[in-house]
Amino acid sequence: MHLVYPLVLAVLLFGIGLYGVIARRNAILVLMSIELMLNAVNINLVAFDMYLRDTLHAGQALTLFVITIAAAEIGLGLAIVLMVFRNRATTDIPELRELAEHKEGSV
């Protein structure tokens, strides 16, 4: 198989994930898009591991690690989203504006 196929798939998946992260209003959907991007990375790793015929199988080991970290990250992400939802009753990112610079604030 040509290495290009998995790589193209990974890139497209990454692009879609990126779009999702920026375009989505709901925090959880943003987390999903992040999952997509991480999976795109995993495909890349596996594809290169196969292509380089790596004796250490670094690619596959790393994919495993990425998966575990992704899981941990989703756990925490959802915990935070729940906290935000409990305090602000919304998970829409555009409405969370506490960090905005005060318009009338002087230096």
């Binding site: 990126l18 992260v21 920026i22 375009a23 990112i93 555009p94 969370l96 504006r97 506490e98 960090l99 905005a100 610079e101 230096v107």
Partner: protein
């Protein structure tokens, strides 16, 4: 020889320093007068022993990176004679002012400044290096500034002092550039090298240099373009006018031309310009002198005229004649000024209207001033006749076509000289008659002081006796050379450094006859007018010309319009531009920093997605740049 000259210069300078520091404690007279006395002795000794040779001595004052500046003396016949004139007049003025300003609180600084002035003048006379000459030249200018401003309580003195210094400084700028031209042209600032380097047929740098030097000469000797400061300088005390504005400083211009005469002889264009300048100055100042209302201003305008005679003489190649006139004029003009001081002292006012019939109240002043006025007008036995005659002779000699100088200069100076002779005779007689003859006019003491008059003299008429001895005695001393100095014409002055131009001083028949005719004409007209109506002012002969002549032909108004107002406007514009233009750029830069900061701050509106978009967009752009770049 040069050591004597050096001590002659150094002594007054030392006296000045001592005078300034010990001002209050020691009687100023005891410092100033002995120093000048010794200097006079030395100058006379140098003049006696000089003969025909030229003594040079020089030590390097400082390296400059290109031409060195040397501190040295160059004593020749001209320098020695001029030094004698300077020291004698300075001595007499010091003695005279000791009495004249006895109760003046600031007499010590006055005496010190006069000594400093004498030292500076001697430096100019004796020095062998052009840059050191400029130093002496400008120190004289500053001394005249301080001395004119001696009575700084009066507005006239204040403005006259600044005007004198700035106008002479204006003349000194081309003077400095001229020295640079001559210095670089001759590859040395020493007068000896400059004169040696002047090629026979004259060269570009010689003409340019000498023309530029004329600026300084015009400024210092109050010739036409820059003559307005001298009449106003009468606001200073009378002895100052006698010393500075009659005998020494104003003659420095003519002295310089005589000193660098080989260079000037090689530059015909300069001589023609000089002749034209002299002509215009002679006639203008004589007319102005005739119309003046104040005794000292008449003498001031007449000094401008006589100086024009000297520069005229130099313009036509008559160096010896011009120097002869310089010396004689120094004597009789100082006499006239000191005499005027006595007259003002007696009458209490300087205005001619307030004077009359003084021949009984001030007999010595009467006789000595008569001699002075006769010399000024050119009556035969007196010095003025012979020196003026020598100048006219030189002019006629050149006009006839002999000698290296272009003929036109000769004709110009001759015609102007004769016309001025008439006018000089006229105003001399007018002054003589109005001051000493006619009804004694009793103007109330403290009459309104004309703007330009010398404040110290007014309001103190001393009915009793003429004046203290110390004021009268110098008049007599000065009267001697006024009468006898003329006969030197026959023996001839000790050689003034080589045969330069026409050095024949004895009177020639044609010019003598013309000069006498001019005298008779001028004096006769004024005497006739006077006899018809003693009260009226004979100046009415000028008719329509009288008004402008009185105001010095409005040259001051011209200067105000052409120079002062544009400078004031430029100053306002410069200040405005500094505040508005240059500063706004600086403040603008600060302001733009603020705006930039504000703009970026507005970007932080808390929208996380906006930040992410910005972030990724940046990453993409960088990736593309790297991809394209590599």
């Amino acid at each position: 020889m040069t050591v004597a000259a050096a001590t002659a210069t150094g002594l007054p300078a030392l006296a000045a320093l001592l005078g300034l520091f010990l001002g209050r404690r020691v009687r100023p007279v005891l410092i100033a007068v002995p120093a000048v006395l010794v200097a006079t002795g030395l100058a006379i000794a140098v003049a006696a022993g000089i003969g025909d040779d030229v003594h040079e001595s020089a030590v390097r004052l400082t390296p400059t990176g290109a031409l060195d500046i040397t501190l040295g003396l160059r004593v020749d016949g001209l320098a020695a004679l001029s030094a004698v004139l300077v020291t004698v007049v300075a001595l007499l003025v010091q003695i005279y002012s000791a009495a004249y300003l006895r109760e003046d609180p600031r007499y010590s600084s006055y005496a010190a400044l006069v000594s400093l002035f004498t030292a500076a003048m001697l430096l100019v006379v004796y020095t062998g290096d052009l840059i050191v000459l400029l130093v002496g030249w400008e120190v004289m200018g500053v001394c005249s500034y301080f001395l004119i401003g001696h009575h700084w309580e009066t507005e006239a003195a204040r403005s006259a002092s600044i005007k004198a210094f700035v106008v002479t400084k204006l003349g000194d700028v081309p003077f400095l550039i001229g020295i640079l031209v001559l210095g670089t042209g001759a590859d040395s600032f020493r007068i000896r090298d400059v004169l040696a380097a002047v090629p026979e047929g004259g060269a570009g740098w010689v003409t340019a240099g000498t023309l530029l030097l004329l600026g300084g000469v015009a400024g210092k000797s109050a010739q036409v373009p820059l003559q307005t400061w001298l009449p106003d300088a009468m606001a200073g005390p009378t002895p100052v006018s006698a010393l500075i504005h009659a005998a020494t400083m104003v003659a420095a211009g003519a002295y310089l031309v005589a000193r660098l005469y080989p260079a000037f002889l090689a530059a015909h264009a300069t001589l023609i310009v000089l002749a034209v300048l002299a002509m215009v100055t002679m006639i203008g100042s004589a007319l102005a002198a005739l119309a003046q209302e104040d005794l000292k201003r008449v003498l001031a305008w007449s000094t401008v005229g006589q100086l024009a005679y000297m520069t005229g003489g130099l313009a036509v190649g008559g160096r010896d004649a011009a120097v002869f006139h310089l010396l004689s004029h120094g004597a009789f003009k100082a006499l006239l000024f000191l005499g005027a001081g006595v007259v003002i002292h007696v009458v209490g006012t300087g205005a001619l209207a307030g004077m009359g019939g003084l021949r009984h109240r001030a007999p010595i002043a009467f006789w000595t001033m008569t001699a002075g006025l006769a010399a000024l007008a050119g009556l035969p036995p007196f010095a003025g006749f012979f020196s003026k005659e020598a100048v006219l002779g030189a002019a006629e000699h050149t006009a006839a076509g002999h000698g290296p100088v272009p003929q036109t200069a000769g004709w110009l100076v001759l015609v102007a000289g004769l016309l001025t002779a008439v006018l000089t005779a006229a105003y001399a007689t007018r002054v003589w008659l109005r001051v000493f003859f006619g009804p004694a006019r009793e103007t109330a003491p403290g009459a309104e002081v004309p703007a330009h008059a010398d404040a110290a003299d007014y309001g103190r008429p001393t009915p009793a006796g003429e004046a203290p001895a110390a004021m009268v005695w110098p008049l007599i001393v000065l009267a001697v050379p006024t009468v006898l100095f003329g006969f030197v014409a026959f023996s001839g002055l000790p050689s003034l450094g080589g045969d330069l131009g026409y050095d024949e001083l004895t009177p020639h028949l044609p010019t003598t006859v013309l000069a006498l005719a001019a005298f008779v004409l001028g004096a006769g007209v004024v005497a006739a007018l006077w006899r018809r109506d003693p009260a009226a002012d004979p100046a009415r002969v000028l008719g329509p010309l009288r008004g402008p002549a009185l105001r010095g032909f409005d040259v001051d108004g011209l200067y105000a319009a052409l120079v002062l107002t544009p400078t004031r406007l430029a100053a306002k514009a410069a200040r405005f531009s500094d505040g508005a233009v240059v500063d706004t750029y600086v403040k603008g830069a600060a302001q733009s920093a603020w705006l930039l900061g504000g703009g970026i701050r507005r970007g932080q509106n808390g929208n996380t997605r906006l930040y992410l978009t910005g972030l990724f967009a940046g990453v993409v752009v960088l990736a593309v740049a790297v991809a394209v770049g590599s």
